[in-house]
């Protein structure tokens, strides 16, 4: 892959021996349940085999036995660092199947939540990349703002990590004033910290030496391995689902798609940082767009698919019927198949839903970016130093939940 000059002895007159290193499944340097059995020649990796599936929970099988609205909590547990993007992706897939058109205000609220989730995810990835290269400070500064984002989620939906945010057709409740206040406060506070974070790292000699030129990936290799997301953009391909196949009214927003050139760890770091700036821009735009919309709208007017509020269920016959039908999975759904992709924090998160009109999906397949991005890892590690392989894994931002599904 890398075609680093392998330093393994080819001179057969010298006695040589490789050692086997089990990196993982629970290794403090790998941030998750990843096992790689490496053949090492000193500090160099000669070859490696990735073993995955340690937290495989058979979500695709479970999804075949759950009504649509019960699948949202499963998607939480794919990439749990940015659960709202998964939730929204799933809602939009079902809405596409059911031909539901969401009001603009719902789209903009979704953009806010999704971009906050992207920032939260990139905070973790870039913060931890700093930790892995020996700089704890940046991580600590940034982590506080993941907390701020979680507080916004909490205000919107009541939970923090696995959010189950939103419903098919919109949100379960309107955003309250506290939520908007917290979003505005975040927009004021976070840029300062992000700037400080960048000034700590971007031209830091130790960090640059440690990351530049490590695990470079060409554009051709990125396509060959079906990479997507910040990794692919760092390799120089400006493929972003938000720009190419806009969903949730992303076409109304003015944003840039940052691209790198070499695809190395440093470029990935820069791309993620820049994406956070772009996300902030989009949240700002969304807030000003929302001001022009009717503040009472927070879901589409689709009573047969959108779970009615509880007081309605107790006092209104139609609402009771719809509530029963939705909860029992008795809603009328069209027979068909739909592929919907959203730009997850790690890349193209796709939902391939085949529906036969029954209570549950006939088949649901998740196109999980972490799973596909990670398939290059063992190949690209060949000839790499072990310490480089660690920060390479860190900057791939593979999330175990999304890897194993």
């Amino acid at each position: 892959m890398q075609n680093f000059p392998s330093i393994t002895d080819t001179d057969t007159s010298v006695q040589s021996e490789l050692s086997t290193l089990n990196l993982g499944p629970t290794h403090p340097a790998t941030h998750g349940v990843f096992q790689n059995v490496l053949q090492m020649d000193g500090e160099r990796i000669v070859s490696g085999v990735s073993t995955i599936g340690y937290i495989h929970r058979a979500f695709e099988k479970i999804a075949e036995h759950r009504p649509f609205y019960q699948i949202t909590p499963l998607t939480d547990r794919l990439n749990y660092c940015s659960a709202p993007i998964n939730n929204m992706g799933w809602h939009m897939t079902v809405e596409k199947l059911l031909n539901i058109e969401t009001p603009k205000r719902v789209d903009y609220l979704r953009v806010i939540v999704m971009e906050l989730a992207r920032i939260a995810d990139h905070i973790i990835c870039n913060g931890v990349l700093g930790v892995d290269t020996g700089a704890f400070t940046g991580f600590l500064y940034m982590m506080e703002y993941r907390e701020a984002i979680y507080e916004i989620y909490e205000e919107v939906c009541g939970s923090r990590l696995t959010t189950n945010i939103g419903r098919i057709g919109g949100f379960e409740r309107n955003f309250n004033e506290i939520a908007f206040a917290k979003i505005r406060k975040f927009l004021v506070d976070f840029p300062k910290v992000l700037k400080e974070f960048e000034s700590l790292f971007n031209r830091n000699r130790i960090f640059v030496d440690r990351t530049k030129g490590v695990a470079p990936v060409t554009a051709a290799q990125a396509i060959d391995y079906s990479w997507s997301g910040p990794l692919m953009r760092a390799a120089g391909i400006d493929y972003d689902v938000r720009a190419m196949n806009p969903y949730s009214s992303y076409q109304d927003f003015d944003f840039e798609v940052p691209v790198g050139t070499t695809g190395d760890v440093y470029d990935r770091f820069l791309v993620r940082n820049e994406e956070m700036w772009q996300s902030l821009r989009m949240i700002e735009q969304a807030l000003s767009k929302i001001d022009k919309e009717d503040p009472t709208i927070f879901h589409a007017d689709v009573p047969e698919f959108y779970l009615p509020p509880k007081e309605e269920v107790y006092n209104n016959m139609e609402a009771l019927i719809y509530h029963f039908k939705i909860v029992m999975g008795e809603i009328e759904t069209p027979v068909g198949e739909v592929y919907h992709a959203v730009e997850g924090a790690n890349g193209e998160l796709g939902f391939y839903l085949v529906n036969d009109g029954g209570r549950t999906p006939y088949r649901l397949h998740f196109r999980r970016p972490s799973f596909i991005n990670y398939s290059m890892y063992a190949d690209m590690s060949q000839g790499m130093l072990l310490s480089d392989a660690i920060i390479n894994m860190s900057s791939l931002n593979v999330i175990a939940g999304e890897l194993d599904a």
Partner: protein, 167 residues
């Protein structure tokens, strides 16, 4: 940016493959075609390499099991042309017990794990795959769990039986 629509795309496909590739439908605007395992690699290569198409990006490979059909196992490919920003879905149906299909790893390295996952779930044999072993499930598992004959729920529970509410 040039435009390539479903009609033109299908025209390109039929020009080369005539009746070996049939149009199934265009659900939600995504052109879906069916072919057989003799032609699948040729079709993928054609879509990938022809200058006017350039479906260079393999989005996904997965499978689906229809126990009531004569050809039970469907293998489904999603490709994406980054140049023309258009996607295509290709299906190949295989008979159970003879679920062999040539591998796409010669065209994309990314197909490696996708095919391993599909094998792991459905038992589809991708002939020529460099390392077709289970990926998510344990190595000594004897069944292919995503096939319909393996129920998920406790078989003793009656409240989830299909005859109450349909599937």
């Amino acid at each position: 940016m040039s435009t390539l629509n479903n009609e033109a795309l299908f025209h390109y496909i039929t020009a080369r493959f005539s009746d070996k590739v049939v149009l199934i439908a265009e659900p939600y605007g995504l052109l879906t075609v069916e072919t057989n395992r003799e032609n699948i690699i040729d079709l993928l290569e054609y879509l990938k390499t022809v200058n006017e198409l350039q479906f260079v990006y393999l989005t996904d490979i997965t499978a689906i099991h229809y126990p009531d059909q004569e050809k039970q196992i469907g293998v489904i490919y999603h490709l994406h042309s980054l140049k023309h920003n258009i996607r295509v879905r290709i299906k190949v149906f295989l008979e159970d017990g003879d679920a062999h299909i040539p591998t796409a790893t010669g065209l994309w390295n990314g197909a490696n794990w996708m095919e391993r996952e599909t094998y792991d779930y459905f038992g589809v044999m991708f002939d020529g795959h460099p390392n077709l072993v289970r990926i998510l499930n344990v190595d000594d598992m004897t069944v292919f769990p995503m096939r319909r004959e393996y129920p998920l729920e406790d078989p003793n529970r009656v409240d989830k039986k299909d005859f109450y509410f349909g599937r």
